[in-house]
Every structure is written in structure tokens, then in C-alpha cells.
Amino acid sequence: MNDHMPAQQAANSLGFKASLGDAVASMEPEVVCHLPSASIAEIIDRVELRASGGGFRVIRSTREEDAVGVLSGVAMAGSLGILLIQDNGLGNSLTALTTLPLAYRLPLLVLCNVRGGLGEYNSMIHHYSQGLPKALESFGLATFWLDRTLPLQAWQEGIIEAGSLAQMSHRPVIGMLNFFGVESLEGSL
């Protein structure tokens, strides 16, 4: 796999989610932090594999706000950090996100899989996830959404562009990855 392989071809040979891991790696981050999530496990696995070849570090964080702190330090050293989490982890890290990268104007790309809503099995999470978009907006946190209405190659391009946006606008940018129904798109590749 090289970073210039067309997105569709990459997705075909690797699997859709793994190809998103390559999109993360292609941004040449200094550090990628992640917390566990079944929905983005393939992305995390791919990122870890790409990191094993050198070039960037991966930290298996134990708490989202700690990861936001670490990646804010990376940004203060002039480099880009990326965080891979579930969207419910944003709740844990709102104070950190707003008092560090947002207040200090530091680039940070956060990619989270969307919980709640269609396709969600866990009855507990809907209350949180339903209110999250408005909460993020009210805090002034920039978000972008990727879902099954978009062609798969747009996911890769969107993630990479979001990393650029975070760096150019000196702020955290949060990518909300909604995988509901994406499996059918992947099957049509």
C-alpha cells in the first residue's frame, strides 16, 4: 500500500476501515492516541501497523482527556496529533478540549465513531449521543460528518482535509464517523 493509491483501489484491497487508517497515517502525524472501540478497531489496527514501520508514535491512552493533554503538548512542539475514540469519549474530554486546544489555539484532529441512533444496540447511549451534536456546536468545536450518503473515497479525503483544517485554523477539528449502513456500501465496491 502506498499513500498515493487511489482511494477506491485501497479500500478494495484493504477493507474500507483499514483504508481510513492509511488516511490517518498519510497525514504524517507525530503521535496518534487511541482508546478502544469495536467500530474503529480496524482503523486502530491499521494505524498501529503503519506506526510500527517508524515515522510516528502510537499511544494506547487510558482516558480521553489525558490523550487530549498529550496531543496538546505535541501541538505546542509544532506537530500534529490525532485522537481515535468513540464519540462518548468526547463527553469525558470536553473540559480538556475547550480549555486546552480550543483556548490555546492548538491543532488537533479527533476522529470518533458515532454511537446512538440507528444501528445502536446499547439502550444506555442514546440519551448522550442525541444531545452531543448540539453540545459540540454550543462549545464552538468544529465538527464534520461522514456517513453512508458519501462515496467511500470521500471519507479518506475528508479525514485528510480535516487534518489540514485543524492545522490551518489552529484549533481542534472533530470528525464524526457514522458507520451505520456503510457495510452495504463496502459490499458494493
Partner: protein, 191 residues
């Protein structure tokens, strides 16, 4: 010894080094004692001084720069002990943590923390840090003189409660603090 005395005595070591300082009274006192462009005051974000210092030190590792310092308090560390674990896993030789442990939340009315019941130095040691327990300014200076370049280190500095009177609030724009820090860092790298 009080926090302010500790901050005064470490100035010769940190005044030219990237230093990330926990919020409230610690930031206020350090700024009042001797502000430097290489100090990042974390104006909120309790418990993240070690985290931020870790990210910075990780990015700067192997670039020939001196130690990176995190100044943390016991109450703050107890809010994010995770930072000890994620940081030590990176084996950062250029990172030194100064934990000022006075047993109280000094910025909010001196409510007691759990540090008398939980030895934070032992916790750090269990996580894998090289820990020194420091109970005097003389010992603190000796540890800082001897240990340069041999991180990751955790200096568990035992302090007495009490804030420095007259230290004003830190009212700087966080973005301005960041810009000042990064400009200092750039000049250091290019001169």
C-alpha cells in the same frame, strides 16, 4: 517548605527549559516569582500538566534539548493519575515531573486531598518512574543538579500548605501564552 519556596528554588533549573505548570495557585505563584516565555501556565485543565509535558517531550525527544519539566500538584494528579501510566510508557529521558504534594487543594480553600492516604511517590514508582522523595530545598536542588538527562524522573516534593500572598491571577490570553512559548522554542532551535 511551602509551594512558593519550592518554585523559587527550582527557578535556576527551569527558567530556560520548557515547563508546563498546573493551574491556579501554582501558576500564579510561578508567574509572580519569575515569569518566563518558556513557561506554559495551564489555566484550567486540572491534571494535565504531565500529559501536556509528555506530548511535548515526546515530540522533542532526541533533538538535543534539555529537560522538559511538568510541575504538578497532588490534588491535580489525583484527578488524572492516568498521566503517570501513559507517560512512563514512552520512556522519555527528557522528562522530569515535580510533584508538589502539600496534601490540600490549595487554590480552593485548602480542602484535604487523599495524598496522606495514598503515597503518590509509591504510585509513580509502581508505574515505573524513577522516584525521589524530597523533603528539603537542599535535597531538591541536589536532585535537580544530579539528575539532568536521566529521565523520566518523578520528584515527590513534600510541602506544607499555604499560598503566596499577593500573587495575582494569571489573566493572559491562553493563545498568547502559547504563541510566546512557541516563539521562544523556535528561537531556541534556530540560534
Amino acid at each position: 517548605m511551602k509551594r512558593s519556596q519550592i518554585l523559587q528554588s527550582v527557578q535556576p533549573f527551569i527558567s530556560k527549559a520548557p515547563t508546563f505548570v498546573t493551574c491556579a495557585a501554582t501558576s500564579r505563584e510561578l508567574k509572580h516569582i519569575g515569569d518566563q516565555p518558556n513557561y506554559i501556565y495551564l489555566l484550567d485543565s486540572m491534571g494535565l500538566a504531565i500529559s501536556v509535558a509528555t506530548g511535548y517531550a515526546l515530540t522533542k525527544r532526541g533533538q538535543g534539548h534539555q529537560q522538559v519539566y511538568a510541575i504538578e500538584g497532588d490534588g491535580s494528579l489525583l484527578m488524572n493519575p492516568n498521566s503517570l501510566f501513559s507517560s512512563i510508557n514512552q520512556s522519555l529521558k527528557n522528562l522530569t515531573v515535580l510533584l508538589i504534594d502539600n496534601g490540600v487543594y490549595g487554590s480552593t480553600g485548602e480542602q484535604a486531598t487523599l495524598s496522606p492516604q495514598i503515597d503518590l511517590g509509591e504510585l509513580a514508582k509502581t508505574a515505573g518512574w524513577r522516584v525521589a522523595r524530597v523533603e528539603s530545598l537542599k535535597r531538591l536542588t541536589r536532585e535537580l543538579e544530579q539528575g539532568s538527562g536521566e529521565g523520566p524522573r518523578f520528584l515527590h516534593v513534600i510541602a506544607s500548605p499555604g499560598n503566596l500572598e499577593g500573587a495575582p491571577l494569571v489573566l493572559d490570553d491562553p493563545a498568547a501564552l502559547k504563541s510566546r512559548f512557541m516563539e521562544w522554542d523556535y528561537r531556541r532551535a534556530t540560534t
